[in-house]
Amino acid sequence: MKNKVNREIPDSILKDKQYEGFQTTDFGQPDIQRVAPKVTAQTGPSKVVDSIKQVVKETLQDGMTISFHHHFREGDFVFNLVMREIIDAGYKDLTLAPSSLTNVMNDIVVEAIEKGVVTNITSSGMRGSLGDAVSHGALKNPVIFRSHGGRARAIETGKIKIDVAFLGVPNADEMGNANGMNGEAAFGSLGYALMDAQYANKLVLITDSLMPYPNTPASIKQTQVDYVVKVDKVGDPDKIGSGATRFTKDPKELQIARMVNDVIVHSPYFKDGFSFQTGSGGAALAVTRFLRQAMLDNQIKASFALGGITKPTVDLLNEGLVNRVMDVQDFDKGAASSMKNSPAQQEIDASWYADPANKGAMVDKLDVAILSALEIDTNFNVNVMAGSDGVIRGAIGGHQDAATAKLTIISAPLVRGRIATVVPDVTTVITPGDSIDVLVTEIGIAINPKRKDLFEQLKKVPGLPIFTIEELQQKAEKLVGQPKPLEFTDRVVALAEYRDGSLIDVIKEVKD
């Protein structure tokens, strides 16, 4: 069948995997039954065990689902330590269900796939050699990609049933009270891992710094933890978050940021108490700086900033321009290290952040979201997953979730090198055009025709050229030429869920 964004979803997949095609961005008010983990009670004085090898042996069986978090980002040691033991012990047919996969995890996942240790994967995304392997059909079963909110929903409803969660933490006591804020490998918010902590049948904490009991503040609590393993190092502090984020000097990014700021400031949402989410790219960081000045000039303060947090956002908090920072993960050291000193920088879990299947997520209250795109098409559908060569190299992250904001702005250059960003039809639909309001490129903006109100308000703004999205697409094509269409086989290598659990697109094996 063709779903509402005109993507052909093979009937066999809908039937075998009991999926429905994407219909609408409106989640409605369904009743939802949640699942609960199985708890093995214990009353002993300590949960510390000697080695990862031992704990793997005690907890893991063939065919189980294991999970990890990606808060250590490119500085992660834990994933490789644990997967090494699992591969060497010869386990088979595991499902890997991490919150996401970073480059530092690629090689060992490829090895686990080749040896039949891992036969199913669900993740927010993947890149590099792993994305390449999956796109070339290395995995027998299709990968399932879910947004951060979608993963929270899938865990709560039992679609992802985590047998054993291996969670690295920069500190923990002997009973498993832990947080992400203190210790040498501190990364700030444990947002995504809190889902695993709450719903996994067995929870193994791996830490390099055992604290005196009781260790507080405890984001993960001893009531949830089965084992604590001490290792030498859980991560490389220099690679966990980027260092000091430099302000971009790229004139193209600055131009985009200036126009994004113009769109926000002249929208009806820019008033006292508004809320926003920005990403971590160069243009997004520049927007934060422009927005700061606009807030000062107009004496406007924001009620909250949401999502992945960077130092410039924390600066706004310290300056009193933002009232609360609702923090699901920290992108840089500045943001990670400020959490412990600031009660106004609130750690939130992935469900609270972005899950449609709960009693209200933060994204429902979000006014302005600034998001990026690998591709956006003339129906405003956005691709953040498949590269222009059709190979998987991205992550949904919170894209689908934050795009439900009242004003969702995609900031993207018209072309990257010889690749057009604005295209007639995206390679893979991840976020439906229905939830996108404005596209900002360096040469001008395009407004979703659904938003006539925004057009009326923005057309008077000086220095803000407005085009139709078709015009922007044609300008891009004129620059780079018309690419030869990509070739795929019929084999489906990955499924992209929308945040409600319906299928928004499938990704096929690339033909070389």
Partner: protein
């Protein structure tokens, strides 16, 4: 025309293209490296071939490392490398330009 010497034009900066032209035995042979080979490989080779034809170069090995160059850049680098390979760099071929 006969290629007099192996020549090189262009850099490996993004949005540029580096072309090396050397003597060949029969026809034009390409060795193309490009991140956009799937989408634009044929287009890049056709653009270079057109330039070589304008210089009557019929036998050549062309090693190309493309970094996402747009068509005008590819043409400019191809003209330069042809002029250098034919040792004509002091006498630009105005008709080709």
């Amino acid at each position: 025309m006969e290629i007099k010497q192996t020549a090189l034009a262009g850099t490996l900066e993004s949005s540029d293209i580096q072309i090396m032209l050397s003597e060949g035995s029969d026809g034009i042979h390409f060795d193309l490296t490009s991140d956009v080979k799937k989408q634009f490989g044929d287009d890049i080779m056709a653009t270079i071939k057109d330039v070589l034809a304008a210089y009557d170069i019929e036998k050549a090995n062309v090693k190309v490392i493309d970094k996402g160059a747009l068509t005008p850049v590819i043409k400019a680098r191809a003209i330069t490398v042809a002029q250098r390979a034919l040792d004509l760099k002091d006498q630009p071929n105005w008709e080709v330009l």
